[in-house]
Symmetry: C2
Subunit: 341 residues, 2 copies
């Protein structure tokens, strides 16, 4: 019979994690003491600032266990945190994993989730150095604290966009939303796991390498990830930088998969691109002359594109969408507000 | 009508937090960017290592909302994390607070919980610099990541106890367990809130100042907090240091309140002291000649006592309890295994 947490206990599970970390994880330099003491100790590198972020996935809210396999769930939970570090211009170093688990949770599933963590961490030479397991009666949750580093003076904020800046976005925002709708409307979620849009939702790509390179280059002014959706996160930049923005609709990047799916769903693909969506692309602003430099920098790192989608304007303009006929339509970022429905 | 999260939304709640942090929190030096960006950025001090820990309280598992008020819950959630930093010889600097909340959670309760956080953080000049709110359908949870610092070379581990070391413990372990039993057996939990043992459970005292001073002094060898109970955590020291231990029963510290309550519960007070209990005292080991130095050091910081309770022995001795007649009884640390019942 498959083993559950109540069979092997918390300490039994921690032992399994140690084995997994030894076998499949990697060692990151700079850790004085890792898992197995009251806290983890880290020796920060000179000339670097330490970045800390935490983000939590709750079963039933951020994922449905019958619609994502455990490896992908682990990848997703880690990628959303890596994205936050990357959006600050940094790279991840160490993760602390706090799990809330029901007694009937399968050990094999938790181990697969850990494998998903490693799939995201290992390529960046980042490791798991601590954590915590808690029994829960309700929904399982995965709360990850990720520690990273950024070179001093290279920190990328939301608050430093300037009027006249070009606005760039990486990849194809909105794909995760379309993928979620496919998952939700599918009679058998297993059959759609390989659909590119479902993959965009289940295992979103972070852009930490791109974010780090952009920050290092000094070409960009403000940066954020699109974890709340393109419009909502552009809204965060506008709010924090006290500016407005003009988006040129026809310049919004549309993937073939998104166009096709929007047609089937009878939705405007441009609406999907701007909506609340769990993609983890980057939005950044820079001077007009830096646009080609950033585009070629991003292209040199991966096959992801960076599209210029508009300009930063005065605060009083708020956010305007410029339609193909030249007319303007005000658009309001709704944000991803977990409690307002 | 009292406001709930569904009334003001996540961003509304975050705004309240900002106000609370501005009004009641303090500023810790070394933070480049705090709440309101993708990640928090910290400039570590030269000559220090960074400590990171996370611990999670789940409603129904670690607390019952009708048996603890929200301020005390906030204090408790923060104190257990501060204790982990203190047990490594460090002091806390920055907290990231990740909350899982049901829609019907009262705003006033969440604000009170934040006040509890500040009550623990402000005296140590530590601040809240980030976090995350997630809607949950099930049990609420409070997951805190605490970042601290420890002078280089002063890190206190579990793994450095040596044969012949004296074993010291601060305060009165076991009080929290007795307090929990009072809470659980009480018909009206409100009436027992001021009982000293109930307070020991609801708002345990961390010993971070003492732990930091002990580490700084260089007198101690191994250190841990008693979050799993005296015997279980002494067991962690023995396991990691590959040693055994001899506990002299009559030297175990018993508070008057514990003796009285044990009498009423018809329990051996010494069993209570050694059991799994949510106290956050320190266990440490040191050479025999350092005992008076550490005792007077601890006494100079607060009114908490440090009692010498036994000696570190060879691993093959395991853990033995020496009874008043000189006979020995092997005792087995059960640990606090959340899944084994």
């Amino acid at each position: 019979m498959p083993k559950t947490l109540s069979d092997i206990g918390e300490f039994g599970l921690i032992d399994r994690f140690h084995t997994l970390i030894r076998e499949e994880g990697i060692e990151t330099p700079g850790v004085t003491i890792g898992i197995g003491d009251d806290a983890a100790a880290i020796k920060p590198r000179e000339g670097y600032e330490v970045l800390v972020t935490c983000d939590c996935l709750v079963e039933g809210r951020h994922y449905l266990s019958d619609r994502i396999n455990s490896v992908d769930l682990g990848r997703r939970a880690m990628a959303v945190n890596i994205s936050d570090i990357g959006a600050m211009g940094g790279l991840p170093l160490y993760a602390l994993v706090s799990l809330g688990l029901r007694e009937d949770t399968l050990i094999a599933d938790v181990e697969s989730m850990y494998r998903g963590f490693f799939q995201e961490l290992n390529p960046l030479k980042a490791s798991i150095i601590g954590g915590n397991i808690t029994k829960t009666e309700g929904a399982n949750f995965i709360d990850i604290t990720l520690v990273g580093e950024v070179e001093q003076g290279k920190l990328m904020l939301r608050s430093s966009a300037e009027i006249g800046d070009a606005i760039l976005v990486t990849g194809y925002p909105g794909q995760a939303l379309a993928g979620l709708q496919i998952l939700q409307s599918s009679q058998s979620p297993q059959d759609v796991q390989n659909h590119p849009l479902v993959q965009a939702y289940n295992t979103p790509k972070h852009r930490a390498r791109e974010g780090h390179a952009i920050a290092h280059s000094g070409y960009a002014k403000a940066m954020i990830d699109t974890s709340d959706g393109l419009l909502a996160d552009l809204g965060h930049i506008c709010e924090k930088s006290r500016v407005g923005a003009k988006i040129i609709q026809k310049q919004l990047p549309l993937s073939k998969a998104l166009i096709q799916e929007a047609g089937q769903m009878e939705l405007d693909p441009y609406d999907l691109v701007m909506s609340d969506s769990d993609d983890y692309e980057l939005i950044l602003t820079c001077s007009a002359e830096s646009v080609p430099k950033i585009r070629s920098l991003v292209a040199s790192i991966s096959d992801v594109s960076a599209s210029e989608i508009g300009r930063i304007t005065e605060a009083k303009e708020k956010i305007q969408l410029v339609l193909p006929d030249g007319s303007k339509r005000p658009v309001t970022p709704s944000g991803w507000d977990h409690f307002k429905t």
